[in-house]
Amino acid sequence: MIIPPPRRLIETMYVRQERKLAPDAKPLVKDDDFVFPSSPLARLPAPEQVVAVPVAQALDIPPEKMGRYLLKQLGESVEQGEVLARREAGFRRPRRECFAPVSGTVMYITRDHVGLRPAPTASALLAEAMGYVRDLVHGEGLAIEDQQALLEGVLGVGDEAHGRLMVLSQRGDEELLAAALDDSAAGTIVVGGVVLDDAVLGAAEECGVAGLVLGSVPAHGYQGWLTGEAEPPVPVVLTDGFGPGGMNAQVFDLLRRQHGQPTWLRAFDVGRAEVAISLVPRAFVRIPPPPEVGVGAQIRVVAGVAFGTAGRLETWPPVPQRLPNGLVVPVVRIASADGQITEVPAANLEVVG
């Protein structure tokens, strides 16, 4: 029997992530600073990783002869794709070249290969988390700590983004219009109910919106988001799916209450879509376990006639029942917010919490 899967909607939870600092890393933050995932925490020394290039093999020559074909010597710098060594064409023998796989400096030359140290690049340890810096100890580590709300979407496209949350709709089923977006939305995560017009996405890009949290988009024209053939101009998390339905009331209500708060949107794929919102710190609460399925559980209908209905489970476990289309499947009774009782296939539910 398929038990309805959980769809995380967490009002508040405590998040702490600890990061180690190398002894020679130079911290760029101090305790109580607020950081976003892309914020640099510390400057790091250049990596010592060396890339070994099998020159003799690439030129098809005996190892002892490698030296005479080398065009770069110890200490010289090379660009990626530059010729490191060359063997000219000979009788029934084509010319052969060996290219540098990375930019860097020739660190060593052995009998049959050359070691390249990649060019030092300015590297920094990024926060890769959102929250307040705590417990910074130079040369040892720090923690990033926060009180957050978390909601899980059904689809994420376009990677991650962060910024302040900006709720531009009054209701979850309201259409987000391009005209609602202006310069004040730059760098923010905009929340909208339903997008029916492509122009909204263009306007979001034009205004410099960092990301979008949307209830739904139309099916036609947006299939590329599912197949990987198209990406929106800014990262998008869909909370409900495809169609004109918009955003369910539970999710919209949570987002509306957090208007203006720092938000981290993670939009990676089907089932890998999350929105984390930093809350004004209150008492710390650990991440609650996923909700249990049973009478009284908060649920949402995610397919079929009652798609979008939120409520609670009135009966559990489900009992097999014939649907109007003739299929016999396990069915439960749910009570919506207005007290109406509906019978729904258990497979078409998600447990919220």
């Binding site: 052969r96 796989p101 099916a219 299939q223 495809f242 397919a303 006639v305 299929l327």
Partner: protein, 566 residues
């Protein structure tokens, strides 16, 4: 608990759901005792597996899991526990494979065929042309490094005698070994065939890459069937990867227990081979999965399979729609479809693949998608279209209002010609049957003989030029094998005729066909004698034309659906 009880638990972890099945000996024969279903749990498959096992425990009042969550093995005197545990799995992402070959495209085709034996996606194809220009070689090396495949499969050209091409290709692969750049170390599997290039290739590669030399692409291609083939090595690589990305199944086993995991695709091949032998018939097995559609055909010693990833009824529905197009689906719908609503339904199904259709239109849309997936998965090989036995599995066949719906989908999608028995798999047991067949074929035989794969019926579908539509094309006189009244059925060109005939009862037929029609594999005669088996639907005479059936129109669709009693 019966005295000779020796329960076997078989689990299949699919892309969307995990299925558990418990088999045990009842009155001396193995049969299905109970089955369970749960969502496949990402990250730790054991959660989904335990939930599916929990279904069986509740259904059969039998304890299978100990208090610590591990399987009770061996069984205890109180009836709890199992004596064997089999696991098939397709829940891991597909193996990202680069294939390389020299000379003609035959070697690359061989490599492609080998990749069809597991859950694999080909991310790059390398040929000798790539190593003849140094600039291009360098670009290919960078590309291959960047793609970072999970494995590289290199196949020697069956006709090549010059090993130098293979050596050049090996050098390129060795130079691209992503170990140099990002710490990965994909194995390179080289099937040397008759090329004799094994030693030369090994000299180039063995110190630089994890080289696995094999003789041939598929098992059984040469006399030396005891040595591993490229397919076996690919299976091993897939299983190594499975253990990495889906940890947890070991936590199900008792401390000293072990289990051989079989990739679901390999299990389906095993099932097809077993069923072809068991029923002594040319067999085509189709599986409509959530993410993947698979087809395996067995004709004597030949086995061919075709797997399409991202082409399924659930997770793969959006990509499947992009491939087949909306008109291909709407032609199977007996109502004027709102195309936006259809797209919306299938895209939401991709997001939430285990939801079930509630309305008539949604259900008919899922059946239409099933027809088109089937039509596109069967290889264009003649014997695939003239099977003696079809076995159909997948979620679609588990949610039917009547088994005749399954038969309708299979007839429309596969268009089998000749005389074909059709079985289906309402409990999605085929991967487990394959695993059982590998473990102990006698157990698999007993399980299928005891109702695991119910027979829908026998289909008689002549090939050739149809007479004018609406005129008689087939007359069959039907006699029960035991005593009973004779029945006569006449079917017109363009129509389907159904004669209910119970399961496990044999019918003797005398079939007369209109001029221009014949039954493949049967002698042309005025009347063709047949001995066929009934089924849940019965005997079905499909006179819609073969090999190219009539296209559906609203009127025809209504008539065909009506004839099948859907």
């Amino acid at each position: 608990m019966p005295q000779d009880s020796a329960p076997i638990l078989a689990i299949d972890c699919g892309g969307a759901t995990t299925k558990a099945a418990l088999f045990d000996r009842i009155r001396g024969h193995y049969r299905l005792l109970g089955n369970g279903l749960a969502l496949t749990s990402r990250g730790d498959v054991s959660l989904g597996v335990r939930a599916a096992i929990g279904d069986i425990e509740r259904l059969r009042f039998r304890r299978l899991l100990a208090a610590d969550g591990r399987l009770i093995m061996p069984p205890r005197p109180d009836g709890s526990g199992v004596s064997a545990f089999l696991l098939t799995c397709s829940a891991a992402p597909p193996l990202r494979l680069a294939v390389a070959g020299t000379g003609s495209t035959a070697s690359r085709r061989d490599a492609h065929r080998a990749s069809q034996s597991i859950h694999a996606e080909i991310v790059d194809v390398l040929g000798l042309g790539d190593v003849q220009d140094q600039q291009a070689t360098s670009a290919r090396i960078r590309r291959l490094s960047k793609l970072s495949p999970d494995a590289i499969l290199m196949v020697a050209d069956r006709r090549a005698s010059d090993t130098s091409e293979l050596v050049e290709l090996s050098k390129m692969i060795a130079a691209a070994n992503p170990d140099l750049i990002n710490g990965g170390r994909p194995p390179v599997i080289f099937a040397e065939g008759d090329s004799g290039a094994g030693r030369s290739v090994a000299e180039v590669m063995e110190k630089l890459v994890d080289l696995r030399l094999v003789e041939r692409v598929a098992p059984g291609e040469s006399q030396a069937t005891d040595t591993p083939a490229a397919q076996d090595e690919l299976t091993d690589v897939y299983l190594e990867r499975l253990a990495d990305v889906l940890p947890g199944y070991e936590t199900l086993l008792p401390p000293e227990g072990s289990v051989g995991v079989v990739p679901t695709v390999a299990a389906l091949r095993l099932a097809a081979q077993f069923l072809a032998g068991h029923y002594q018939a040319r067999t085509v097995l189709v599986d409509l999965g959530s993410d993947t559609t698979a087809c395996v055909g067995v004709d004597g010693s030949q086995i061919k399979s075709r797997i399409k990833l991202n082409f399924g009824q659930g997770v793969g529905a959006a990509r499947a729609l992009a491939t087949v197009g909306l008109p291909a689906l709407t032609r199977w719908l007996p109502f004027t479809a709102d195309t936006d609503a259809l797209e919306q339904y299938l895209y939401n199904k991709t997001l939430r693949p285990v939801t079930v259709p509630e309305g008539h239109h949604a259900r008919l849309l899922e059946l239409a998608l099933g027809r088109e997936l089937l039509a596109r998965i069967v290889p264009p090989v003649e014997w695939f279209h003239q099977p003696g036995l079809i076995v159909a599995s997948g979620g679609l066949f588990a949610h039917l209002t009547h088994p005749s719906e399954a038969l309708g989908v299979l007839l429309d999608g596969l268009a089998p010609a000749g005389v074909t028995r059709v079985r289906f798999d309402p409990l999605s047991l085929l991967p487990q049957v394959g695993a059982l067949a590998r473990w102990r074929a006698s157990v698999a035989s007993e399980v299928v003989e005891r109702g695991a794969l119910p027979i829908l019926g026998t289909v008689i579908a002549p090939v050739g030029h149809l007479p004018t539509l609406g005129t008689p094309a087939l007359i069959a006189r039907i006699f029960p094998e035991d005593d009973g009244p004779e029945r006569v059925v006449q079917v017109k060109a363009g129509e389907i005729g159904v004669v209910p005939w119970p399961r496990e009862e044999i019918a003797l037929l005398e079939v007369s066909l209109a001029p221009g029609l014949n039954l493949p594999g049967m002698k042309k005669a005025k009347t063709i004698p047949l001995r066929v088996e009934g089924g849940v639907v019965g005997l079905v005479f499909d006179l819609r034309g073969r090999p190219n059936p009539l296209p559906p129109t609203p009127d025809r669709l209504a008539a065909w659906v009506g004839a099948l009693g859907v």
